[in-house]
């Protein structure tokens, strides 16, 4: 028998050694297995997608080739990916944070829309009178407040009336959509003659681009949010407490933690982040409110958060992938003649694969 190596897990009864991390070999093995599962999951999703697309008479290889070319090889497409990635990242963080506290925020969609409505309300009111930079900041504040307030409704229902937040945030998405449509069909409509929409916010209040790239500073806001949130969740007492509440609220209560305030803070900050996503979408991409504004950013953010297993840094990667897919979706329509929402199949299959086939369970000793 060979000498025992550090691969062996210490017996719980044994005297306490220094708190060692799992052995190096074991970690590599786990990482390797995980990588294989991820690759298999992605390949599986692509294969099923190919089969489905070929049912509709399209050649899957051509479809993938078109998607690749249009996504990564056209000059503006990388710019486009970064532009779309910013709101998706923020919407994903809006899921990450409540998930840490054990809550399911399915309401990113509504919070993004209401955030944009808040930003637009501030912008349309002041962009003719105040300096552009100030309006920009005020719009961001408006978006944060509106997004947080929208999530706050769900928080109120959960904390006071004990209604599950997954159900309420979901329903509030539809209310938010009706609110948006109500506003742009009547009170905020630019002209009864044209398509229903608001006017564009003044150029000075729009988000500036980074140098000559065409990428707006939205991506900087998103990356900064990822870094700050990642730090807050892993390095602060607030993050530690959220983790405890999310793991076992009763344990948190018994440890004299302010559970209600922690849950509230997670949902409100989450809503604020989604609101910021709405602000960026408004002042960097759409420039005005119109029907179909910000479609599915909230849901795509939800998927990104789950793809990243609710960890801030991987959220960046997941958001990039999903932004790229959404750019690719346009090429589906233009080059392959398939409806743009066909891309949802690929997105969903990816998530199905990740949800179902990339977890590893440990054993009790």
């Amino acid at each position: 028998m060979s000498a025992p190596t550090d691969v062996m897990v210490a017996e719980p009864q044994a005297p306490d050694p220094a708190p060692a991390a799992p052995a190096r070999d074991e970690r590599w093995l786990r990482a390797g297995k995980l990588a294989v599962r991820w690759i298999a999951a992605i390949l599986g999703a692509m294969i099923i997608f190919s089969v489905l697309v070929s049912f509709q008479g399209a050649n899957p290889l051509e479809v993938f080739a078109d998607m690749w070319v249009s996504t990564f090889q056209r000059p503006r497409s990388l710019t486009e990916i970064f532009i779309r990635m910013a709101p998706i990242t923020l919407a994903a963080l809006a899921v990450v944070l409540p998930a840490r506290a054990g809550m399911m925020n399915v309401g990113g969609e509504g919070q993004v829309i209401v955030g944009a409505v808040g930003a637009a309300g501030v912008g349309l009111a002041f962009d003719q009178t105040l300096p552009g930079g100030l309006v920009m900041v005020l719009m961001a504040v408006g978006a944060i407040v509106a997004g947080a307030a929208w999530a706050g409704i769900a928080a109120l229902l959960r904390l006071v009336f004990n209604v599950n937040e997954a159900v309420t945030t979901l329903l509030l998405n539809f209310v938010a959509l009706d609110l948006l449509l109500f506003l742009i069909y009547q009170p905020w409509r630019e002209s009864a003659a044209a398509q229903p929409s608001t006017r564009e916010v003044a150029v000075a209040a729009q988000l500036p681009t980074l140098g000559s790239t065409g990428v707006t500073v939205g991506i900087i806001v998103a990356v900064a949010a990822v870094i700050v949130l990642g730090w807050a969740l892993t390095r602060t007492r607030w993050g530690y407490r959220l983790g405890v509440v999310g793991g076992n609220p009763e344990a948190a209560r018994r440890a004299a933690m302010p559970v209600t305030m922690l849950l509230l803070s997670a949902l409100l900050v989450g809503g604020a982040l989604a609101g910021l996503a709405g602000w960026i979408e408004l002042s960097a991409v759409e420039l005005k409110l119109r029907p179909g504004f910000g479609t599915q950013i909230g849901y795509i953010g939800f998927l990104a958060s789950w793809l990243a297993r609710h960890r801030p840094l991987p959220v960046l990667v997941a958001s990039f992938v999903l932004a790229a897919l959404s750019v690719a979706a346009d090429s589906l329509q233009l080059d392959s003649g398939l409806p743009a929402s066909t891309i949802n199949i690929l997105t969903a299959l990816l998530l199905v694969a990740v949800l179902g086939w990339t977890t590893m369970k440990g054993k009790k000793t």
Binding site: F161, W306, H310, S341
Partner: protein, 306 residues
């Protein structure tokens, strides 16, 4: 007074698709699985029924295939949640997106096609009863079918062995294991049965109610169905009232506009959602305590996966 009859009969007509879906979701939730993918099953059912009835001219065949499509979509959720232990909310949304994509891919060529829809058929004698007749018995055949299906689901859940197994899966699944049943199989079956009914609900929407197909036509009805199950406190019979209430809220707008009232349609469209939220808040703690015990666990603690 005709407006009341209009709204009420419109409520039955418009509520029936939600009724089917909510009844299906009741089965699933009684087994301890919440399925946000109900929306997706409805979409799949709507498109499949539309395709088949446009190809064959037989709406009944459409309903059958719609039910099958709904089951197919919900089986993805069933496998993910039951076999792979994935988070129920995330899986439900993934399945919805899958269905959104699939139906837009396969449905794009059916937008604007003509079909043979179900038509209104007056039940002899019963349809002549004042008030009740026009509301309940001047409807399409799928509405009449729902009058049978929903009580049947109640009977199955509460009086048959299959129903007992489903309820045990939702209340205390170890008890099934102890008696040699497979919890997984019972749950899979319940979720898929829910998908069948959601598919029929979708079919009602496309080939009996709107008689059209367009992308994302279900527009949140599936989510309403999920919420409805909660405030019907997991009873199929109580789902009736809730579903018709929503149908009525949806038909209030057109009824008022037909009479020349100026109303922002979105203010009306939002009513069912606000109503659901209000009712959930009002029932709050009371409903959740009536939830099947294993479902309560899903509701109370939805921690991040790993």
């Amino acid at each position: 007074m005709s407006i009341i009859i209009d709204v009420a009969s419109g409520g039955v007509r418009g509520g029936t698709s939600i009724l089917y879906a909510a009844t299906g979701e009741t089965i699933s939730e009684r087994a301890g699985v919440i399925n946000l993918g109900t929306e997706g099953s409805m979409l799949a059912g709507a498109l499949a029924a539309y395709m088949v009835s446009s190809q064959t001219g037989n709406p009944w065949l459409g309903v059958a295939v719609g039910a099958f499509a709904g089951a197919l979509i919900s089986s993805v959720h069933a496998v993910l949640v039951v076999k792979r232990k994935a988070n129920q909310f995330a899986s439900g949304l993934a399945v919805l997106f899958l269905s959104l994509g699939l139906t837009s891919l396969f449905g794009s060529s059916y937008v604007g096609k003509t079909i043979t829809p179900f038509t209104v058929w007056d039940v002899p004698l019963l349809s002549d009863i004042p008030w009740i007749g026009p509301i309940l018995f001047q409807q399409d055949p799928l509405v009449y079918l729902s009058y049978l299906v929903v009580p049947l689901v109640w009977f199955v859940l509460f009086r048959t062995r299959a129903g007992l197994l489903v309820r045990t899966a939702g209340e205390r699944s170890e008890a099934l294991t102890v008696h040699g049943f497979s919890v997984q199989r019972v749950r899979m079956a319940a979720v898929i049965a829910g998908g069948v009914l959601a598919g029929v609900g979708g079919a009602h929407l496309s080939i009996a109610y709107t008689n059209s197909w367009f992308e994302n036509m279900v527009a949140g009805r599936g989510f309403i169905a999920v919420a409805l199950v909660i405030f019907a406190s997991w009873s199929p019979l109580k789902v009736f009232g809730g579903a018709y209430l929503f149908g009525a809220a949806l038909s209030l707008g057109p009824a008022l506009q037909a009479r020349g009232y100026e109303i922002n349609q979105f203010a009306l469209h939002v009513i069912p959602f606000v109503l659901t939220l209000t009712v959930l808040a009002a029932l709050g703690r009371r409903t959740i305590s009536a939830a099947p015990a294993e479902l309560k666990r899903v509701f109370e603690n939805a921690p991040p996966d790993p």
